[in-house]
Amino acid sequence: MVFFESPKGTVRVELGNRYLAALYAWLLPGAGHFYQGRYAKGLLFSLTILTVYFVGFWLGDGRVVYASFKQNDVRWQFFVQCLVGAPTFPAIVQATAGSENAPPLWIRNYRYPPNQAGRPAFSRIEDPAEVERLGAAAIPDGFMAAPYGEVTLSEPDVLSAWHAELGHLFDIATLYTFVAGLLNLLVIYDAFAGPGMLFEGDEEDEENPSDDAETTAKTAEPKDAATSPKSGESKD
């Protein structure tokens, strides 16, 4: 049990095993709060963060969350995106399964290789017969996989084709999934250490008597609690 004191009263928060709660919070946004019995906050976090993440995922046509450490395509954003937890695990599987030049798992579509007469380089193949005709030359796009093949700075490649197809949405979708990861970092901390209560907020809300009653009712052993808003911890 942890107490949080502010000038308006004391709030008790049952954090349980805080390390486990933080792990759950990382695995699925809000799950750490469900484990702690903080259902309303858990639901709020879960809905908000997963909505932002999946809207970003949808805007980016499922291509903006991938792990890549290739030359010219070090996807540093993934380190933040993966803070959303389980929804990003397929990207980790794609990055770690198979060798560097192996085709990705869960192939969604294929693309024309460069130098195909009458076809723009790396454009999508819509006709399955074309995929059969090209055989191993067809370039696969995997679900949450890094762009297949080399990424160069001077020649067209799969990544540049993705950018051409999605336009500004590639960056906006990356931003959405990135922000979802950052927000889950706050949620993980909240599950681990409880809320970071703000004193200045209490001053603005002094005219709300219902909250005073609520917090007073919860003030069972406030005298033992530390005076800082973050440090009153007891063993019960």
Binding site: V11, V52, L183, G201, N208, D211
Partner: protein, 65 residues
């Protein structure tokens, strides 16, 4: 007005809302205080980002003119 609603800048609105909700909710456990924090966070972010946008628009206008 319709042009503004369909502009790429509108993508920032859900992000501000989500960030305000999560930030506000991690500041307290009591619903009324959480709501107050959400509103305050959203206002701060809107004013801050709006200010930056105004500065950039002003700079763009100045440099073009």
């Amino acid at each position: 007005m319709l042009q503004l609603l369909t502009s790429p800048y509108m993508h920032i609105v859900p992000l501000i809302a989500a960030a305000a909700i999560v930030f506000g909710a991690t500041r307290d456990e009591r619903p009324a205080y959480i709501l107050a924090n959400i509103v305050r966070s959203a206002l701060w972010m809107t004013v801050f980002l709006g200010g930056i946008m105004c500065v950039l628009l002003g700079l763009g206008w100045f440099l073009r003119g």
